[in-house]
């Protein structure tokens, strides 16, 4: 085994090294999950309580206010709950990832391992919460009259994958930028909030093709995952509208990864 220590090419995404360190990925995720629910009374139940309470809030508030009964095949509570559950995966994944490099700066400065392990493992933490929330969500959705549609089951893994890509692309970019510019820490909640309103979480996307904001809403990386996620529960979607979002997401992944790889060598000097 012979290797050289010299700066690597930023276009090499480093997936092989990442695969060699998959155990570390698991250990980081395990640590964060354990730490997250240490000394909480309700523990992992918070995973569903958060989106559940939000759904209740918005059903009582927004749902009544603008008199939304059904949205393209889903009742409003089912629409909102499914939206919140997947949105939480994205939002906590992105927020964890964006802050991950800075919060692990002490480790980065003292030891080498593929740096990508950190943002990815922080997404895994969000994924564990999501899995639990999802399992509890299923009977609730059934009660609200939205059972998973057999024919569209493949939409589920696809939507989670796209959600991961959306969080990963933005997350790697922001986590790398955060090392250099700590301003990111303060901008991050704002970015998430803005994306929340730009995504069809609490309202269905009834596009007005002439509105100036329509292309932005279509290019939103979270548009496609949310639509696909609901499609698995019988939501009617137009597959045509998903492509800009997916393309945009892939672009963010490519650029985020490139920026991360380009700057990762100097993390230890800057952190």
């Amino acid at each position: 085994m012979e290797y050289e220590i010299k700066p690597r090419h930023p276009l090499n995404p480093g997936f092989r090294e990442l695969w060699q360190n998959r155990e570390l990925l698991y250990m980081f995720a395990l640590r964060d999950i354990k730490v997250k629910y240490k000394q909480t009374y309700l523990g992992i139940a918070w995973a569903l309580l958060q989106p559940g309470l939000m759904t209740l809030l918005f059903t009582l508030g927004l749902g009544r206010l603008i008199n939304l009964q059904y949205c393209q095949g889903l009742s409003y509570p089912a629409f909102a709950l499914s939206g919140f559950v997947l949105w939480n995966l994205f939002a906590s994944g992105l927020s964890n990832a964006g802050n991950s490099m800075v919060s692990n700066a002490a480790i980065i400065k003292k030891i080498y391992f593929p740096r990508l392990v950190i943002p990815i493992s922080s997404f895994l933490v969000a994924l564990v919460d999501f899995s639990i929330a999802f399992c509890i969500m299923l009977p609730v959705m059934a009660f609200l009259g939205a059972s998973p549609v057999n024919a569209a089951w493949y939409c589920l893994p696809l939507s989670i994958l796209l959600c991961f890509l959306a969080a990963f692309g933005l997350g790697t970019f922001l986590s790398a930028a955060n090392i250099k510019y700590r301003d990111v820490r303060y901008v991050l909640p704002f970015i998430i909030q803005a994306l929340f309103f730009a995504s069809p979480v609490i309202y269905p996307l009834n596009l007005n093709p002439h509105a100036w904001y329509s292309p932005i809403l279509l290019c939103n990386p979270m548009h496609a995952p949310l639509e696909l996620f609901r499609a698995a529960f019988g939501y009617n979607i137009n597959a045509m509208y998903l492509w800009p979002s997916i393309a945009c997401s892939l672009f963010f992944v490519a650029y985020g990864l490139y920026y991360f790889r380009k700057t990762e060598h100097f993390f230890a000097d800057l952190a």
Binding site: I5, L24, R31, K38, K110, I111, D183, H265
Partner: protein, 409 residues
């Protein structure tokens, strides 16, 4: 001959020093700088054209003053930061211990932390499992292994952290002054373990200021100064070079040396009542220490600590151990005169610390105040061989040797 396990070729590391040092860059400052001409940043080479090779089984002590580039070198070797130029070829699995307990989390139990820390250090899960009992045993925390780390004493945390590192199976170990912490008993245990590791044929690179630890573990030494390799040789050569380097400002001129102390101003050295720059074995050594003070001193006292060239103390004496108060009236400036007849330290280089105090309170301590050079001199007429400096720190002028024949023929 097989290829060296580590080749460091012309490695350099440049840092940019900004006029105003900031812990991190903020976006606002960055935008602000677009309007300004390029700031006058200076280049600083922490390492400059460093080349050496390491053979498998070498144990190398890396020494040098603070800021000589030791830690930067270790950081580059452990891939935490890339070199600005040059390259390093490694032919073994490397593990670096720049601190003990990297990744330890107070909320996790001892068991979980062992797995976490082990993974970060590059151990496979199966490897950790295999050594788990031995690790816990070495750390001596078996009883508390499922207790959260935050309830451990700091000593227990440290022991657990070192224990994980001690069971690394990598061919190359890079160790920064991790042993500077912990009680002396545990330090001894660590040094012992590291000695085992180095004897087991693995390659060790060790940075430390603790020369006795380095001498236990290492067989080669690399002396860094201002980012460059000054000496790459046997450990003893590197060490003695280092010591003469740090001490070269402390030589006597015409038996005098000026001290820039708050109180202590000058020291004079006498050998058999003659001012001189070095002394002979067994001479009557005389020292004069000039001091000045703003406030009158009621009970001035002077301590002298003579250390060997590895900084280990040999003689520490104080006038209060020999005499009553030497000042009859409070004194603002004066000369302390000390004489030691038949000064029986072996020839060699020594380092002397001087402490000045008043009323049993230390007012000033001047560490590494001057270098004391003791020259060899025969002290009996009959000797046919010189005393070996490696085995003797002191000598006895009046030692008697006899041989009685008790054979029957």
């Amino acid at each position: 001959m097989s290829k060296p396990i580590l080749e460091i070729q012309h490695v350099g590391k440049k840092y940019r020093i900004q006029q105003t040092q900031q812990p991190y860059i903020s976006l606002r400052d960055s935008i602000g700088q677009w309007y300004k001409p390029k700031s006058q940043s200076q280049d600083f080479w922490a390492l400059n054209d460093v080349s050496f090779t390491v053979n498998a089984g070498d144990t190398i002590g890396i020494i040098g003053k603070n800021g000589a580039g030791k830690s930067t070198l270790l950081k580059i070797l452990s891939r935490i930061t890339p070199p600005t130029c040059g390259k390093i070829i490694s032919r073994g699995r490397m593990a670096s211990l720049l601190e003990v307990g990297t990744g330890f989390h107070p909320e996790l139990s001892g068991r979980e932390n062992v797995y976490m820390n082990g993974s970060i250090l590059g151990m496979r899960r199966a490897e950790i499992k295999k050594h788990f009992d031995a690790i816990v045993d070495f750390a001596g925390v078996a009883q508390f292994i499922d207790t959260p780390l935050k309830h451990y004493s700091s000593g227990m945390q440290l022991r657990l952290a070192f224990a994980v590192a001690a069971f690394l199976e990598n061919e190359i170990l890079i160790i920064d002054e991790v042993l500077a912490v912990g009680d002396s008993e545990f330090q001894k245990k660590c040094i012992g373990k590291m000695d085992d590791i180095s004897k087991s044929g693995r390659t060790v690179l060790f940075v430390s200021h603790d020369f006795s630890a380095i001498r236990t573990i290492c067989n080669r030494g690399i002396l860094l100064d201002k980012g460059q390799v000054l000496v790459n040789d046997q450990l003893s050569v590197a060490l003695s070079n280092y010591l003469s380097k740090i001490n070269n400002n402390f030589d006597f001129v015409n038996g005098k040396i000026q001290i820039n102390g708050k109180l202590i101003k000058q020291v004079e050295l006498m050998c058999d009542d003659v001012p001189s720059n070095e002394v002979y074995m067994g001479c009557n050594l005389g020292l004069k220490v000039y001091f000045e003070s703003d406030k009158p001193m009621e009970f001035p006292s002077l301590s002298i600590l003579i250390k060997d060239s590895f900084n280990a103390p040999l003689i520490g004496v104080n006038n209060t151990q020999y005499e009553k108060n030497l000042a009859i009236n409070p004194i603002t400036s004066g000369i302390f005169e000390v004489s030691i007849p038949n000064f029986n330290l072996m020839s060699g280089n020594y380092i002397v610390d001087i402490y000045l105090g008043n009323n049993f309170k230390n007012l000033e301590e001047i560490k590494d105040c001057f270098k004391l050079i003791i020259l060899r001199r025969n002290f009996t007429d009959n000797s046919i061989e010189a005393i070996n400096e490696n085995y003797n720190k002191v000598f006895f002028k009046n030692m008697k040797w006899k041989l009685k024949n008790i054979s029957t023929e």
